[in-house]
Assembly symmetry: C2
Homo-oligomer: 606 residues x 2
Amino acid sequence: MEIRRACLLLIAFVFSYSSSADSEPVWRWECISGTCQKTRITNETRDSALSLPACQLFCGEYGRLWPQPTKEYYTGNYLLHLNLNSIDLNYPQDKKSTALANLAFRRFAQQLRGLVPSGKSTRGGRSLVVNAQVEDPDIIRLTYATDESYILKINELSDGRVNASITSNTFFGARHALETLSQLIIYDDIRNELQIVRDASISDSPVYPHRGLLLDTARNFIPIDAIKRSIDGMAASKMNIFHWHITDSHSFPFVSKSRPELTRLGAYSSSQVYTEDDVRDLIEYARVRGVKVLPEFDAPAHVGEGWQDTGYVACLNAQPWMDYCVEPPCGQFDPTKDGLYDVLEDIYGDMVDLFEPDVFHMGGDEVSNSCWNSTESIVSWMSTEKSWGRTATDFVKLWDYFQSKALERLYRKTSSNIPIIMWTSGLTESENVTAYLPNTTYIIQVWTTAFDLQIIELLQRGYRLILSNYDALYLDCGFGGWVQGGNNWCSPYKGWDVVYSNSPALIAGTYKEQVLGSEGALWTEQVDGASVDGRIWPRLAALAERLWAEPSTGWKAAEERMLIHRERLIGMGIAAEALQPQWCLQNEGDCPAPGRALESAAVKRV
Amino acid sequence: MEIRRACLLLIAFVFSYSSSADSEPVWRWECISGTCQKTRITNETRDSALSLPACQLFCGEYGRLWPQPTKEYYTGNYLLHLNLNSIDLNYPQDKKSTALANLAFRRFAQQLRGLVPSGKSTRGGRSLVVNAQVEDPDIIRLTYATDESYILKINELSDGRVNASITSNTFFGARHALETLSQLIIYDDIRNELQIVRDASISDSPVYPHRGLLLDTARNFIPIDAIKRSIDGMAASKMNIFHWHITDSHSFPFVSKSRPELTRLGAYSSSQVYTEDDVRDLIEYARVRGVKVLPEFDAPAHVGEGWQDTGYVACLNAQPWMDYCVEPPCGQFDPTKDGLYDVLEDIYGDMVDLFEPDVFHMGGDEVSNSCWNSTESIVSWMSTEKSWGRTATDFVKLWDYFQSKALERLYRKTSSNIPIIMWTSGLTESENVTAYLPNTTYIIQVWTTAFDLQIIELLQRGYRLILSNYDALYLDCGFGGWVQGGNNWCSPYKGWDVVYSNSPALIAGTYKEQVLGSEGALWTEQVDGASVDGRIWPRLAALAERLWAEPSTGWKAAEERMLIHRERLIGMGIAAEALQPQWCLQNEGDCPAPGRALESAAVKRV
């Protein structure tokens, strides 16, 4: 790397300098010892002055890229002036992914336009042609088996155009390549122009196939536009799973085509709903961005509003709520009601039609025995129909009764017996899990801490896991408590360094291959559309790099790039939180965090 | 109150019912035992059904008002359909405040239009005429002596119009009355119309004259639009001081007319600045909203960027920074440089021209002896010019030397020797304060905890205080640490209940009269325009009620109204954080926080 840094002095600017007097730039940046240092522009240095983004491109091990690439990363030391109005894509024609690729390319062009500050316009420069070679351009569904790798090469053609060649097995890999390419293009505010790295060779693929965001849209309603913004951010960070916790006890915003009355009663208002069109549109929006929408219908707990007329929900708004559930308004299915399963089958059917899932999330967390135990019709059924007692073991049987029947109804609607994800719970504990949740069917999503022994027990029993351990990946922690004293239950707030340090490889050790990946989880008791962007971003991007690259280095080595990526998200219209004063972005390496330099342990390999 | 609640059943709706089939309302609300309870609409109840806001108006001790009024609060039990297009103001003509009042009324009308959901339009209804009687309509500058009280009465005229009569001593009181009036008007989503309380009599005035927000716009730049949004929120909450921490070590965004080079070097970019026009516009924007802009020019520490060419700042970006200051990039004036005071006089002059302050904030926090002690020119001057040593006492003398000269230069620019606010610091400790900061000149702003003994010592010595104790009023606490391990230094996050419970009367005891009020403080190391709304709101509104009313009840009694006020802020375009699931707003009293019911102690009077 040192040679490359030294070469920076040789960067050839093929463009000419121009400026307007009223806002003539004062500062330029030099790459010194791996950080960009702010320096005054003088008459002597004006022509060769590097803008901050130009310096960042070549300074530091991975330039401005987020997440860091995993196989090969080479960029030369030259920039070319890029013509925003002459950008073309060659992609296999008349394939199933052709339309997706065209939309992804349109987004790519929009991202480039977004680099130019409002009120400015750029002129001239080189044409860019993107040539994509895609091995199987008919793959348009993302699964755990989908090859997301890509190779990206940039070079100058003899006619002066810039050539970006992409090689990938699928559209999804090609799309990631476009994302990387966009990160190799900058706006130079000294010269008011876009510039592109002239020479690059990057080979890249993700470590984990499941790189997700869980968003709860039931505690509070999240408008579709806000969800789309987060999917934009996921795309920019090469994440690929949007886990949609679409209903809960608090509200039922999902419009089930066959059971619309649930939404009519259960939505917060008639405008706070997700219609079939909304959902279809979102799924396609996400697909263009390399993101799959994974639906969760949480049951048998976490139901309530909307079901008032059915008689299938017990304990809804039972008071005092802490006797019946973990937060108001409680609500839990009554598994003894046969009619319940007909409704579930209808809802599952609607969801399967819309989401076409290759894996389905059935929830299954926080089932309350005390709710069932306090419901006369249930305990009477347990006694008379089943001759069960009322011990914890009996309620596990009741839960299994529900889960088996619900799964059977789901499978009536899917074309095959797709894998099911469920949360860690009493059912996933070692004495129950193999009996009730076979590892051939079930994938377990862990929400307890990274130190929960259940993790290793599940791995030893052969389960595939998705990690959302709350001690690092719950994005809602650290605010005021709303159902208990002081701050909320999973406080403190998880800083981006905590998220970044949460290594599945470290947690799973020798069972690493059984970890599909992780999800940052945003439960929305205390978030709605007004602040959802900032709660998710830029912290979710820290998870993105952890999952894409599983880097052997810690957050400290990623800090400069994280600040850059946060600005990138802002430029895309995502209201990501600020992590530091802008001064730290402009003065790389001068805001060290001495007390935090001990953070390396978390990323040691086991 | 019980009689009034019972009377709710008698509420007469003078309007007729209409609905569109596609989104016909499902729910109505009934006031039962002081909370609005969600109930199904039936054919029998459709005509008399209360919307949630209508129920809230009459249910609970203070209806939908925030902050709660302090003297008299009576509203009848009738609502009238209001015609949004027939609203008029009678205000004393050709007075100094006439133009302000007209702008305030225009804003009032905008607020009413903002109640109607986008895509809807309302028709018909009663005309509203607002008659304002203002004792001294030539007062247009807010001081600690300004009378902000008002009386608001609403009644129906014989011609069917609604009359709102406002009596106040000043424009500022009348403006508050308009704010209250706007809170007595609701949008009824069952009937798609605006409604106003038919009979009301409210007498109101604030307990504390200083009800503020401190916003730092130097650690990160905050766009003017974002500042304006917060001033809107302050107006809606009857707060009155916007304390503008406009410069710091990190950047110098304030454009000083006489010293523009400071901004040219010191702003984050040429577009991240506050021009003279920006500042003038903001001051008038705030005045219309009853808010005074109080400038702070923090010195002798908290300076840096911008001053590079002057030679007047020591230690800028000294490394390792923790040896020289509390956070990068350090920076502190060199008090020995005579030319410094000429520059300060120019800046003060520019600020005095713009802000026309009746009180000025000179900062004065976190002065670092080690910075001065490590600067050769300073220690040499102390020794040769002053024959001082280098003890802590000597550096206090040096600081006093600076402060005295700086104050002298400020007073050259003000028309009188206005009061000066300074932060608690080494200079305000008991052994120094009376010697260096006479209580006839200085008001002390407290940033340490509510339990700091300095508070009572300062009160005993006759100082007037403004409380911004960080353990309750620092709005930036609780996020990831950026210069130390774990979370940031003043973690945890201060929930709105903590803010609400921070009673000046409790803290000051018998010296309560010396407390001018409080400020919520937002330091912006980890906030910028993207998330500034949510960091401030709705928590600042909790402070607003504490300062306006100093209620003897705690946050629990205010919880339902707080949720309502948060929705009000959202309706004004302020991205206030969500506090609870929307379910709690729609199901009043069903989200109790059992563990937090012990919170009453904080509001006991001493």
